[in-house]
């Protein structure tokens, strides 16, 4: 066996986790093989309608990522494939992969869809859970990648021994191959990254709710498809039995979650928010809908989740009923559904609904478990991959990493974080093999069109029905064709799909186009994709323009179809006016200082610093106090029983002994200047002031525990916060360990007006402490007073364990909080909501689950690095779903509690992800800066210096070119292209490339014409 490591990684699973990991790995110089069992990648995220808490359209934010992946020459997609074996060792694995026969040649298939159109066999479409039909030759969704059709041999007439062969006859590309066979390939990789995602628990085993029997009972994933514009009902909310618009819809939470009897003892983590979102969106689709959510605890534990929940309760018009529904009874004639529940006064109420949505529990699929078994990776009793808190993305087998729901139930951002963390771990391990197996994308030379008449191609997108149901797309195409400069106009079902990219390139070449307009959605998500496509056809990327006829037109003018069509034409005419004046612009490559700065010496900061250092980059680590460790220094042990102090000590040792890491204690930032690749940060530290030059920065400043001013805190030493309790437990303080009665109060200062967020860790913290106290003394009485118990994911079994051990959980309403009276004992009086009476607990100790609050310093730091803080005081990431460790400002990254309260494993994962993303930037070695910068026409400039005054980035500089003659010159590296100088300039000398006066003026003229 050779010691040689291989600079390639296999990612398993084509959902958001696998896609993110593949992109990170390929960007970092590693060859990627992405294995997906289904015919197309995309996973569950591609099936979702909207995403919480921002209500972003899931497919819209995801599909650009899918296209970027498809266009990356270093990612090989092995779809419709499964893993059959593995040999070798970490760094040098050989994985056997079976690619199933599709009976369609992917090289030839152009995804035109003629085969499916003509195929005579109709099959319930499992992608839409049988609510519509597809053919026996199919592609799950239009933007699916790889863009190839597949024959479903379970239903194809030929495989049933009947005569057919229609698809082969009609295929214009001759791509159908009935003789195709499975191929088995051996793939050599240095590491494997598992992100196989999840499936819903089989509802056949939960017949009490009637799913599969009563047509109007659907799962929450079915509801996603029903709400989706590309779903079976094209976004119209209909009930399956009769197509009628439902008015009363009930959501039932925790169906096969938190239910050991069903073999699902965990909390599925995402359903509370998913259901609230579906309820809100359903009402947005149809205001007559009255949503009701039946729940046990609402687990809105993530960033901005509680605000979303509160909004849904208020303006959202969603009714919440805290009652676990035991069954759904269908009226066999009307197909209406009866639910009997207990109201807050313990009365049995029976209510009839038009539709019921089941929030069905999630878990890894059978095939994921099989793959894990083949790979020799251990899964726990509930099928999730075994990991430790301190190595959250490391499976039981070295060299095999894990991310996403296979690790534990979680939402999209946490999956994305883990995907980046796991790829970071793979990269650290294979760092020396970077760029050994990758190739640069071969691009044709950019054609020079200067001086030529514009030949514009206009691609008008139907966006399924998103645009086409409002805007008359064929009419738009017809009218646009007539306009001057337009050499081609045509429409696409989804212009962002892979086959559309092939078509765009072909059209550019065939029509010798020198400009491209895509009339579809927002350039913020899709422009880079079309630029890339045009570039592949030899066009400079600045010759591509978009007209947003969706957000700016079809979505806002749904009821005014004619005017919408008119407006779409206007928007395109404006785009044509601008596009015909566009010029080629060159991007610039700026030098990069290949080192990092990490701010915050807690677990997050130390982990990010190590991630960067292990990838070969020097790091300065700033710690404001005199010791590393942060809040983790005050923790005792994790729910799994791992010892936190030992872990922190080891981490500190690794950091301080790493020669690439320089730790500055007592550090405070005085000034930051520069931008990605070239930051200069002035710091005052214990050892004096320093100026640090760095290419990237990671912000990991953590958060604090709130000092309560309620429940008698501060008046008696027996009243402690969580962290104080942990310290007392670490010290084995007999006053704590031998207490007869301990009371915990949850949500102390969280989920209130001043701090409207859930502090996320407190429920788990309390449960962990309660178990430890019970283990120390089974006779001890322990009470937990709570609002909702939020032991999300795999923490739920600990909540169950605590209850089995005799810990008593009693709920209180925020309007009637517990009353604390300090005397001989600490008397805690609370209204018992089950028995209705008031109970007073005589406690020896009272523990307050105090809120986690952001660091005051964040505001100052945010200004230094030009990054945003949200209204709560936490840092605001670039995108709440898909870019959870990046900032909108390039080169600055985010990890740990500075982002939002979170437990240790999530902190570590996010810190590894931030470190990995930061290293990705550094490894490139240069900064790609857009060419859209300001230039000063030296002839027109009169050296007045107004541009210097207004520029926030210090880009312009006055230079004396001859005695007494001053001219402004712009440093393109500093210019952000904001245009302030152009506005201030009295002579019109300063102008932004790509946004020149005549380019904008032309648009305005076209709009007014």
């Amino acid at each position: 066996m050779s010691d040689k490591k291989i600079g390639a990684v296999m990612t398993v699973g084509g959902g958001i986790g696998g896609v993110q990991a593949s992109l990170d790995l390929a960007e970092s110089g590693f060859k990627v093989y992405l294995v997906e069992e289904k015919p197309c990648i995309g996973g569950v995220m591609a099936q979702l309608d909207k995403t919480f808490p921002t209500n972003d359209c899931s497919a819209c934010i995801f599909s650009p990522k899918l296209q970027t992946l498809a266009q990356n020459p270093n990612i090989e997609i092995l779809a419709y494939s499964e893993i059959e074996g593995i040999e070798g060792e970490p760094g040098n694995f050989t994985v056997k992969v079976r690619q199933k026969a599709r009976y369609v040649d992917p090289e030839k298939c152009t995804s035109c869809g003629t085969c499916a159109e003509k195929c005579p066999t109709k099959v319930p479409n499992e992608y839409n859970f049988g609510h519509d039909i597809r053919k026996a030759i199919y592609k799950d969704y239009a933007q699916g990648i790889p863009s190839v059709f597949t024959i479903d041999t379970d239903h194809c007439r030929l495989w049933k021994g009947k005569k057919c062969g229609v698809c082969a006859k009609v295929c214009p590309a001759g791509a159908i191959d009935y003789e195709q066979e499975d191929t088995v390939v051996d793939v050599e990789v240095g590491a494997v990254l598992l992100a196989p995602g999840y499936e819903l628990f089989d509802t056949g085993n939960i017949a009490e709710y009637g799913h599969g029997i009563a047509p109007n009972v659907v799962t929450n994933l079915e509801m996603e498809r029903i709400l989706s514009a590309s779903g079976p009902f094209e976004g119209e909310v209909k009930r399956p039995s009769d197509g009628r618009h439902p008015e009363k819809i009930a959501w039932i939470q925790c169906v096969a979650s938190r239910d050991r009897r069903k073999g699902m003892p965990h909390c599925s983590s995402v359903c509370c928010m998913a259901s609230i979102k579906e309820a809100v969106i359903a009402r947005e689709h149809d205001a007559s809908i009255e949503p009701t959510i039946f729940f046990m605890d609402i687990r809105a534990y993530g960033k901005d989740f509680d605000k979303y929940y509160e909004r849904a309760k208020g303006d959202g018009g969603v009714r919440f009923i805290r009652s676990m529904v035991s069954r759904v009874v269908e009226d066999p004639i009307t197909h209406d559904l009866q639910i009997t529940y207990l109201d807050e006064n313990s009365r049995l109420i029976t209510e009839t609904f038009d539709m019921v949505v089941l929030a069905v529990g999630i878990r890894p699929s059978d095939s994921a478990v099989r793959t894990a078994e083949i790979l020799g990776v251990k899964v726990d009793e509930n099928r999730f991959c075994e990991t430790g808190t301190f190595e959250p993305v490391q499976s039981s087998r070295p060299g095999i990493l894990v991310a996403g729901v296979f690790q534990a139930p979680k939402d999209i951002p946490q999956t994305v974080i883990e995907a980046s963390a796991a790829s970071g771990a793979a990269i650290r391990f294979l760092a020396e093999e970077r760029n050994t197996l990758t190739k640069k994308k071969e691009l044709p030379e950019e054609k020079d069109f200067s001086g030529q008449e514009p030949r514009i191609g206009v691609f008008v997108c139907r966006c399924g029905i998103n645009i086409a149901s409002t805007v008359g797309v064929p009419e738009v195409v017809e009218r646009v064709t007539e306009l001057p400069g337009v050499a081609y106009a045509g429409e696409n079902l989804f212009t962002c799909s892979q086959d559309a990219q092939v078509q765009i390139k072909r059209v550019i070449e065939e029509n010798n186009l020198n400009r491209v307009i895509v009339a579809s959605c927002t350039p913020r998500t899709h422009l880079p994709l079309f630029q890339e496509t045009a570039r592949e056809a030899g066009l400079n990327k600045y010759l591509v323009e978009m007209a947003n006829i969706r957000e700016h037109c079809s979505w806002v003018h749904m009821k005014e179809k004619e005017q919408a069509t008119e407006k779409a034409v206007d928007l395109i005419r404006m785009a044509i006016a601008r596009t015909s004046r566009l010029e080629q612009v060159e991007d610039q490559q700026l030098p990069m200082i290949q080192s990092g700065l990490v701010i915050g010496g807690g677990v997050a900061g130390m982990t990010s610093a190590l991630s960067l250092a292990d990838q070969g980059f020097p790091v300065h680590l700033l710690e404001s106090t005199d010791k590393l460790g942060g809040t983790a220094l005050r923790l005792n042990h994790t729910a799994k029983g791992e010892d936190v102090p030992t872990f922190v000590e080891e981490l500190k040792k690794k950091v301080t002994s790493n020669e690439r890491i320089t730790v500055l204690y007592g550090a405070k930032i005085d000034h930051v200047e520069g931008f990605i690749g070239n930051f200069k940060t002035k710091v005052t530290a214990t050892d004096g002031p320093v100026e640090i030059e760095h290419g990237v920065a990671v912000i990991a400043t953590g958060a604090h525990e709130w000092k309560p001013d309620v429940y008698g805190y501060g008046t008696d030493p027996r009243i402690r916060t969580h962290l104080e309790m942990s310290e007392a437990m670490t010290a084995k303080d007999p006053a704590v360990m031998n207490a007869r009665t301990t009371v915990f109060i949850q949500c102390v200062g969280s989920r209130c007006e001043e701090r409207p967020w859930c502090s996320k860790v407190c429920c788990n913290h309390t449960v962990t402490d309660a178990i430890a106290l019970k283990e120390a003394d089974p006779e001890a009485k322990i009470f937990v007073l709570y609002r909702d118990i939020r032991t999300f994911g795999l923490n739920e079994p600990y909540y169950e364990k605590a209850r089995r051990m005799g810990v008593i959980f009693a709920r209180y309403e925020p309007e009637q909080p517990p009353q604390v009276e300090v005397g001989d004992k600490i008397a805690v009086t609370v209204k018992d909501l089950i028995l209705g009476g008031t109970m007073t607990l005589q406690a020896d100790n009272l523990v307050l689950a105090a809120a986690i609050v952001p660091v005051e310093y964040n505001k100052e730091l945010g200004k230094f690095f030009k990054v945003s803080i949200n209204e709560d005081g936490y840092f605001l990431e670039a995108h709440m779903k898909l870019r959870p460790v990046d900032f909108a400002t390039d080169g600055v990254f985010l990890a740990g509690l500075a982002h939002y309260p979170k437990p240790l494993d999530e902190t570590i994962a996010q810190a590894e992800a931030a470190g990995s993303h930061a290293a990705q930037v550094l490894a490139r070695g240069y900064v790609e800066a857009p060419g859209m910068v300001s230039v000063v026409d030296q002839f027109l400039c009169r050296g007045c210096g107004r541009c210097v005054d207004v520029c926030p980035f210090n880009a312009p500089e006055l230079k004396e070119i001859a005695p007494g003659v001053w001219k402004s010159e712009i440093n393109p590296a500093l210019c952000k292209g904001c245009g302030a100088c152009g506005v201030a300039c009295p002579t019109g000398a300063a102008e932004i490339r790509h946004f020149k006066d005549d380019q904008i003026g032309g648009m305005i003229d076209a709009a007014m014409a």
Binding site: G204, N205, I206, A207, E208, G210, I213, A214, R327, V329, E330, D331, P332, I333
Partner: protein, 283 residues
């Protein structure tokens, strides 16, 4: 095929038509039933509620006899079935009980539905149909004891059992989907809380009426008796006429086999199924 047959008290008393139809259907299928010699009470209704030892001891004797004979036991009465199965499980789990009752678990305890639902018998049954029950709208009613207690019965699907559906399908009846397959008929409250029983039985009968079923089909003699005998009371109380035949699945299988005794069995019910079967041309 041969089974040890445990009729229990019900099949020798109030549910003779179940006993008779069960046996004659089996005879037609070539299934030999051999009654357990000198069988004792299974302990249902009272013994298991008051005496934990008696609960096991009563069925233990019959289980040991059956084991000596060496054939699986079929107990058509749902009550007997659950008692015998529970006892067999308890003996096997408890070494003290096993010393006392040396039952080794070499034979299985089956319900009537279990027996008919076996692939071999089901296909035999399908082949033996001479008069498919076309046009007869039935709702399968399993009651509680066919699926509960879960850890004793270990049903394939406790909320939506399908065994009887498949048997009825095999004899060509039209199965009407309805939500009360396993709802409580109130049987165990028959003597103590008649008001509750009327409410629960009424709900089931109403639903069967709503879906325009010709009959409710069951395998449990308690459910049959309860639903059948309460209809007069319900009619008196509500003023609404209740006339829903509650038939045993084996009676319908007999009808599909062209058994001449069907009319005789129908005569044993309070609400006879004779009219509806005649109207549909099935007898």
């Amino acid at each position: 095929m041969e089974y040890s047959y445990y009729p229990g008290c019900t099949l020798t008393g109030s549910a003779q038509e179940l006993d008779d139809s069960f046996k004659s259907v089996c005879a037609k299928l070539g299934v030999t039933l051999r009654e357990i010699p000198d069988w004792t009470c299974c302990g249902a209704s009272s013994a298991h509620m008051v005496d934990a030892f008696l609960e096991t001891a009563l069925p233990a004797k019959d289980l040991m006899t059956a084991e000596r004979i060496g054939k699986d036991v079929v107990a058509p009465c749902a009550g007997c079935y659950v008692r015998m199965k529970a006892a067999s499980k308890r003996i096997l789990e408890d070494s003290d009980l096993q010393t006392r009752f040396p039952f080794k678990g070499e034979i299985k305890v089956m319900s009537g539905l279990d027996m008919f639902h076996q692939d071999e018998i089901l296909s035999l049954l399908k082949k033996s149909v001479t008069k498919p029950l076309e046009g007869l709208r039935v709702v399968p009613y399993y009651g509680c004891l066919a699926v509960r207690p879960l850890d004793v019965v270990e049903p394939e699907n406790s909320e939506n059992p399908m065994q009887m559906d498949r048997i009825l399908e095999a004899i060509g009846a039209e199965i009407v989907s309805w939500p009360f397959k396993t709802d409580c008929c109130g049987g165990s409250m028959a003597l103590t809380r008649t008001d509750l029983v009327l409410k629960l039985s009424g709900k089931i009968l109403d639903m069967a009426g709503l879906v325009e079923a010709d009959a409710i089909v069951t395998m449990c003699p308690m459910c049959q008796a309860n639903l059948d005998t309460r209809q007069a009371d319900l009619t008196r109380e509500t003023g609404k006429v209740y006339q829903m035949p509650i038939l045993y699945v084996t009676e319908l299988v007999g009808a599909a086999f062209g058994n001449p005794n069907v009319r005789h069995w129908m005569g044993k019910h309070m609400v006879s199924g004779e009219n509806v079967l005649t109207r549909k041309g099935l007898i």
